[in-house]
Each structure stands twice: as C-alpha cells, then as structure tokens.
C-alpha cells in the first residue's frame, strides 16, 4: 500500500482508490458506536485518549531522544486535578474549563522544574541522569497522591461525577475522537515546526546541535513542557471517560505503558502511538478473554514485559517504522528491476 506510506510520511498524494478506502474507514469510525456494544465503544474511546498519552511520549522519546520515567506525573496529574475539582467544586462545564487551565499550568510548571534538573548533563551520562531524576520526580508524585489522602482518597482511588454532557458513552466516543484528531494535528504541527526540527537534530546528535549554537537545554525544556501539557490534557479526557483516579496512574508502570505504546507503534513517527495504543489495548483485552483457558492469561504484566523486551530487541522501529522500512526496500527493489 504505497498510498498509506504517503499518509504516514505526511505528504498525501492519494489516488482515487485510497480516497475510497479512507472514506469508508472514516465512515466506519463514525458509525462504530451505533453498530457495536458499549464495551467496544468505551474501549475505542480509551484507545483514542491513551494514544495522545503515547504521542506526548513520542515527542520526548522519538523526537528529542529523552527518556522521561516520570511522565505519568502529567497524565495522572491531569486525571487527579479534574477528579478532585469535580468532586469538591461540582461537576459542571465551568469547573472542567478551570480544571483544564489548572492542569495546563501544573504541567508546564512541573515540566519546567523537572527539566531544569533532568537536563543538566549531556551525552551518555546525561541520558542516565535524566532517566534517574525523572524517575525520582515521578515517585514524588505517586507518593504525594498516596499521602494526601484527604484529597485523593489514597490507594483506594477517587470516584467522581463528570459534567452531564460527558456522561453518555456514545457522545464520549465522539469527544475522544475529536480530541485525538485535534491533538494529533497540534502535535504534528509542533514536530514539523522549526522548533521540532531542532529537537530532531538534538535527538540525532546532542553535541552537534550544541556546537551549531542551539541552546539544547532550552529546546529540551520546550519539548518536555509541550509533552507534559499534551499528556495532562489526555489525563483530563481519561478522567471524563473513566470517572475514577487511583495512584496506579502515577506509577512507573503508567509511564511504561506510554513508552510501550510509542515503541510498539514506532518512535519518531507520532502516528505510531495510535497504532501502538490500539495494538497494546486490544492485545490486553484479548488476553483477558483467554483467562478462562489458562490462568496465566490474567497476568497481563508478564505479557506486557515480554512484548516490551522483544520489541526493543527485535523491532526497535515499531509497527509503523518497520512498515516504512519494508516499503522503502520494496520500492527500491522495484526501481532496480
């Protein structure tokens, strides 16, 4: 499918067949909530929202070459801020707007402080120090949520009501879809902007970018702030979908989920996160259904870790990256012949 490649490579030059395929696909996406049950609808909404969490990670891992092990802080932070505000101040649209505002400010400030310390080093030791320091930041977030029981209900988790317009599952599906499309366009704009290009230069060679006169730390900070805000936005949507927040959202495991979405989909492709999230979520669901056959299938984390290690070792480019690579090879062979 060379046309699919064109879309993935962000230069759509589509033939009529591809337009038809895309049109049918779009129609299918739009009518899915009316032809399937609530379970599928909710699962898809979940995928759309988590895909943005994954995509925000791709800005860091795929476009800037940063490993942030405290990324869950932003996502979980968004969910908790929305949840706490809904349960304390009422579940109205005004409060939602306020929650969006608060969590954006929260994400920006936390990302800024985190980056100030995490991006001190450069090169080999810089990457390691960054991973360790962000891990420590993430644990502070989880620890805070566990100890501030008065607001977060600690490990029991926080259940809350959401504004009326988000209570219908089918409508929520469309909001999630809209959110995915809007955020994808925004983030795509960001990675293709001049700033985004500098980030890619930093990813490819930190030192060279520095010698070219770019303040690499400043650019990394920008990437972290943008990724943090996108992730917090996804966190708020997740709150609207699940109406529940627990400390699980703030653990390293939560960060690793986002990391898995991007590496399965393909780092540095942005769209990869959508495929990655869909793959991981569907695999998780499928395995849980196999639970009746053997108890081992209920141990999702075993499979999670195994997929993770295998992808890093044998398919480092992920689904989309590998597809693009194969496609390239196939085209070259065609030209040669």
């Amino acid at each position: 499918m060379p046309m699919l490649t064109n879309i993935l490579r962000k230069k759509p030059a589509l033939g009529p067949g591809m337009w038809l395929f895309l049109g049918l696909f779009a129609v299918l996406i739009l009518i899915i909530p009316h032809i399937t049950g609530l379970t599928t609808t909710t699962l898809l909404s979940r995928i759309y929202i988590l895909a943005i969490f994954g995509m925000s990670y791709d800005i860091l891992r795929g476009y800037t070459g940063i490993i942030n092990l405290g990324h869950a802080l932003f996502f979980g932070g968004g969910t908790y801020i929305a949840g706490i505000m809904f349960s304390r101040m009422g579940a109205t649209l005004d409060i939602l707007l306020l929650a969006v505002l608060v969590s954006m400010v929260f994400a920006a400030i936390v990302a800024y402080i985190m980056g100030q310390f995490a991006f001190r080093g450069s090169g080999f030791t810089g990457v390691i120090a960054c991973a360790m320091i962000t891990l420590a930041f993430g644990e502070i977030g989880r620890h805070s949520a566990e100890t501030l029981r008065e607001y977060t209900q600690g490990a029991d988790g926080l259940t809350f009501r959401v504004p009326l317009m988000f209570q219908d599952r089918v409508m929520m599906y469309y909001y999630a879809l809209l959110f995915l499309i809007a955020m994808t366009l925004i983030l795509r704009q960001f990675v293709n902007s001049p700033t985004g290009r500098v980030l890619q230069a930093i990813r490819d060679n930190d030192q060279r970018a520095k010698f070219l006169g770019y303040d690499t730390k400043k650019y990394k900070l920008i990437a972290l702030v943008i990724a943090g805000m996108a992730s917090a936005a996804a966190g708020i949507m997740f709150a609207l979908l699940t109406r529940f927040a627990n400390t699980e959202l703030l653990t390293v495991q939560s960060t690793l989920n986002a990391l898995l979405y991007t590496i399965v989909g393909g780092t540095g492709t942005l769209y990869g996160a959508i495929f990655g999230t869909a793959f991981v979520q569907l695999a998780q669901n499928y395995l849980l259904e196999l639970r009746g056959i053997h108890e081992i299938f209920s141990r999702w984390l075993l499979f999670f870790g195994a997929i993770y290690v295998l992808v890093v070792l044998y398919m480092p480019k992920g689904l989309v990256g590998t597809y693009l690579q194969l496609e390239e090879k196939w085209r070259k062979r065609k030209i040669a012949a």
């Binding site: 390691i128 141990r299 870790g305 890093v312 070792l313 480092p316």
Partner: protein, 288 residues
Amino acid sequence: MHIFLMLLINGLAEGALIFLMAAGLSIILGLLGVVNFTHGVLFIWGGYVSIWIFSMTGSFPIAIIAAVAAGFIMGLIFERLFIRPVYGNVTAQILITLGLGVVFTDMARLFWGPNPIPASRPEFMDGTWVIGAVIISQYRIFLIIIGILVAIAINYLVNRTKVGMVMRAGIQSPDMVQALGINIKVYFAGVFAGGAALAALGGALYVPLVGSVWSGMGINNQILAFIVIILGGMGSFYGSAVGSIIIGLTVAFVSWFYPPLTVYTTVLLLLLVLTLKPEGLFGMAVRN
C-alpha cells in the same frame, strides 16, 4: 542524646543496605557503561529466595547464600541474553532493563503471591544490647559490619588484584584489553552478575530488618540507590559509599521525626547537590 545515637546506628545500617545496591549499580555503570534498572527486581528476588530457602532449611546463612547465588545466576542470564546485544546503546539498555523489571516483578508475584510474606530475624541476631539508655539492635550492627566488609572486599578486588586491574583497564580501553588476549566479555559478565548478586544480598538482608517481603519493595530501594549514585557522582565507587551513608542517615533521621517527608527529603537533597555540584560529590568521567 540516646535517640541521636540510636538514629545514627539505624542510619548507618540503612546506609549499608543501600550501599549493597548502589555499589553494584555503580560498578556496572563504571565498567560496562550500563545503567541497570533490574536492580530493584534482583533486590526483590533476593528477599523472596532467602525467605523461601529459610522456610525450608531453617538456616539463615544457607538462605543468604541461596539468595546471592540466585542473584548471580539471574545476573548472568540477564547479561548474556538481554544486555549484551545492547552494549553502547544507553536508551535501549534503559528500556530493556525496565521491561525485565516488569516481567520479573510479576513473576515474583506469580510464584509467591501478591501479599507480603512475614519474615523473622535469625534467632542469634534477634536480641538487643542495652548500653545506658541506648537500645541497640544486634541485627543493625550486623548490617553495618556486612556493609563495611563488602566495601573493603570490593575495594581490595578492584584496586589490589589482577582481576581488578583488568577491570580498571577495561574501563579505559576494552578493545585494547581484548587485544592483549584477555577475554573482556567474561569480565563484563562477571561484573554484571557480581553487581546483581550484591543487590540480591541487599534484598535478603533487608527482609529480616523490616519483617516482611513484598513485591513493591524493590522500586523504593532502587530509587534510593539511584539517588546515591547521582549524589556520589556517577561511576565513583567512593562516591556511592559516602552517598549511601548520607542517604541512610537522612532516611533514618527524617523518618524518625516526620515519616511522610522522607521521600521528599532524599530527592530534595539530591536536587540540592545537583545545583551546587552538578557532577556529584565525587564525580568523575564515566566511559563514553
């Protein structure tokens, strides 16, 4: 005053345990240039294996030896199958060791169940000494002694033996060492497994101290060890020893006076050191 003395001993004992993890991490980082996020898992496995063997044999020394052996074997397997393909690729190392961490944490839960398993101290070290108003737990003194012995042993191994010489040369120039007819890969595997065994030893000794073993105890201690590594200066063995003592004392004192602040204090301490001295207290160049 007696509280001060008691906290000092608690802190040193805590520091000795953190040191067992941090020393392994530090040497692996210094020689192999690998950052090992499986350390927390090896710590957990050390704890579980020691409890398991202890319940079967009733012998504390055998339990400890079994835990160390388990850590060593796991280290060898990890190095051979998962670390060796990604030497030199820091990002892949972080990702792979994190993934292994998830798998083996869940495996521990699969084998030993999700609930904490209670553990008791060996009888011959369960007592306390009372000197004036100060109550000293024998087990904590034992931990401090173990920490000192391990530090001396590592120092001797690295600086006084032929093996240590090869290791130090390997940090400088692995290719040259290989060219001289020494199989540096064996040393790499040995160092990784040795570090893993130290982490498992830490886990096995930690369990009797806190009285139970659970699968979540790895991450906390791993983060403390990471803080020590950065605090002391990456790849510096002395740095990790001094850092362990500082963090151990901090944890002991803060958790005595106001426990909820413990996590914040250790991280704040780290940020403070990074602000004042970005390369860490004993920072030096790590193999690039």
